[in-house]
């Protein structure tokens, strides 16, 4: 969808090119995050796509068309653009801000109004409450939402986002990131996103382009980046806690156990004991007749339970559950907090999907690293 073909940008004031022979493809519907230390050329790269900066050499194609041969204003009208400081027009209301590009494209007013409403709802702002406000009446988070709505107004297939969440407080940032991920699931735009924050890159990107000194160092999925950094620079940039980052990246379903030994709450004690004998685990999950999760029992309690009846008074409920979209990091956090080695995953309030075991997390991550290390020699740099 967006192609860089040996793109170079030189500034007369700088000895080294800001961007040096960059080639890269951003696939349709994907979010590509450009990340790197300041001065690495990531922002210049982004801004060459809508020709805020003109490349010194090379070609950039958006949707198969060379941006350099297109009318600059028309090109930009077709590309959503979000910047860190929002750049909202302070003399325009929220409505007028969002309506900017549709009006440039001469939409009729009825359609503009409908679109503005739709967009404000999409980014989580009540249209009636906010439409007539001026930017200075908005909080940082609200301004950034309006900025995103404005960029999406004419439904451009491509969006450029330059540190869009860089100027808000950490709590708002996390919230905006999550909202944006949900939004992107719905709209599936092709997005180029610049950040200096590797954690944000890992969270937001389908693919991450790590840049240094104007050159592309590695272009890969977050998972591959974390498990197999191309060189020392990437490894260092990702940080020494990259194994922890892997955990926060991988969804629990990677290690979710759907098939395992369970006991029914109506079973006889002997059956339960037999199950323990057949298992290495010290705790067993208990289900009711319809397959709903009840809780767990532990081996030691069953040893104490003398009579055949009433063993189920030893059933304990699980102290915590995980939603299926949780990450391994969430699972670990819950386990540590409650001092348990297993957590059930529930979809909604009732549907029991399976269990996450601590051992499985450990072995999965361990395996992943070993696998990458063994074949990292055959990997290509970019």
């Amino acid at each position: 969808m967006i192609q860089f073909n040996r793109v170079t940008k030189r500034y007369s004031s700088m000895a080294r090119p800001a961007v040096d022979g960059l080639s890269l493809d951003v696939r349709e519907g994907e979010t590509c995050v450009f990340v790197g230390p300041s001065g690495c050329g990531k922002t210049t790269t982004l801004k060459m796509i809508n020709r805020i900066f003109e490349p010194t050499a090379g070609e950039i194609f958006v949707n198969g068309e060379n941006v350099l041969t297109q009318d600059q204003d028309q090109l930009r009208q077709g590309i959503g653009y979000v910047i860190q400081k929002t750049g909202l027009f302070p003399h325009y209301t929220v409505f007028e801000n969002v309506a900017t590009v549709p009006r440039l494209l001469k939409w009729e007013e009825g359609r503009v109004a409908a679109r503005v409403r739709e967009l404000l709802e999409l980014v989580g702002l009540d249209p009636d409450e906010n439409m007539q406000k001026f930017p200075r009446e908005l909080s940082g988070g609200q301004s950034q939402r309006v900025g995103v709505a404005r960029a999406m107004a004419a439904d451009p297939p491509v969006m450029l986002m330059d540190e869009p969440f860089g100027a808000v407080d950490p709590i708002t940032r996390t919230q905006l990131q999550n909202e944006f991920l949900t939004l992107q699931q719905k709209v599936r735009k092709t997005i180029c996103f610049v950040t200096h924050d590797i954690d944000e890159a890992i969270k937001m990107g389908d693919r991450i382009a790590i840049m240094n000194h104007g050159q592309l160092v590695q272009y890969d999925t977050p998972e591959n980046l974390l498990l197999a950094p191309a060189d020392d620079f990437v490894a260092e940039f990702i940080g020494s806690d990259r194994s922890l980052k892997v955990l926060s990246l991988l969804p629990v379903r990677k290690v979710l156990k759907r098939q395992f030994r369970m006991v029914s709450e109506t079973a006889e004690l002997s059956t339960v004991r037999a199950s323990f004998d057949a298992s290495e685990r010290n705790r067993l999950v208990v289900e009711d007749e319809r397959g709903n999760l009840v809780g767990y029992v532990s081996r030691s309690d069953m040893d104490k339970a003398g009579s055949a009846r009433g063993w189920n008074r030893f059933i304990k409920p699980f102290p915590a559950f995980l939603p299926p979209e949780a990450t391994l990091r969430d699972a670990l956090a819950v386990m540590l907090q409650h001092d348990i080695g297993a957590v059930p995953v529930m979809e909604g309030r009732r549907r029991f999907m399976g269990m996450i075991y601590l051992d499985d997390i450990r072995s999965y991550v361990g395996e992943a690293y070993q696998e990458r290390d063994s074949d990292s020699s055959t990997q290509e740099g970019a």
Binding site: D73, Q84, F89, Y92, T100, F134, P135
Partner: protein, 216 residues
């Protein structure tokens, strides 16, 4: 007390002078705004040109008004006429208006300018839809300074043939009539206060509520 009596007894005459005063200023400020705002817009992207124009403007600003009137009436074709008076006032407005237009147009938040360009607005549209509306409070401030200045300087135009509120002071001087001098001085001062009020109203009409009160 004598001043008040003079004022009441000569309301018609004073009204006529005030009207003449106002007419001169209105003509001058309309021309000044049209010309100097255009010049400010033309030099907005060239620091060198702006510097040159502003240097000339501040030179003119330091020429005493009596001297400027004197120079203008000596120019063949102008002479002792309203043109000379108007031209002098227009010249004095050069510095405050051009300076404020230049500063305000270039003072628009770079993020706003980048967003406007990034959305594909043409240079022309950015100027008229973004820069000028955002610059309006500062430009208005420059116009206000000019008008207040003109009110005072216009009184001196009586020496080159204008018949405005300056007549009261000049006649008071010639005839040693403090009542006339006081009436003249007070009305001219009230004029200035009234202009302040007028510009506050004007700001309400011309400036978007989104940025009102930002420029002082």
């Amino acid at each position: 007390m004598r001043a008040l009596r003079y004022f009441v007894n000569n309301l018609d005459r004073i009204g006529g002078y005030a009207a003449q005063h106002a007419v001169l200023i209105v003509i001058a400020i309309v021309i000044a705004v049209v010309v100097w705002v255009s010049v400010g817009i033309m030099v907005r992207n060239s620091r060198r040109m702006a510097r040159g124009v502003l240097a000339v403007a501040s030179l003119i600003m330091s020429v005493p008004s009596v001297a400027l009137y004197g120079i203008l009436v000596s120019i063949p074709g102008l002479g002792l006429s309203r043109q000379s008076a108007v031209l002098a006032l227009v010249l004095y407005a050069m510095l405050p208006i051009i300076r404020n237009v230049y500063v305000a147009l270039n003072g628009v938040d770079p993020a706003v300018m980048e967003a406007a360009r990034g959305m594909g607005m043409s240079q022309r549209r950015i100027l008229f839809r973004v820069q000028l509306p955002l610059a309006t409070p500062v430009i208005l401030a420059g116009v206000r300074v000019s008008v207040v200045m003109m009110v005072g300087i216009a009184t001196l135009a009586v020496f080159i043939g204008e018949r405005n509120l300056g007549v009261l002071i000049q006649q008071g001087l010639v005839r040693t009539r403090s009542d006339m001098i006081i009436v003249g001085a007070v009305i001219v001062s009230v004029f200035a206060v009234f202009i302040d009020y007028l510009f506050n109203k004007l700001e309400r009409v011309l400036v978007s509520p989104g940025i009102r009160g930002d420029a002082s």
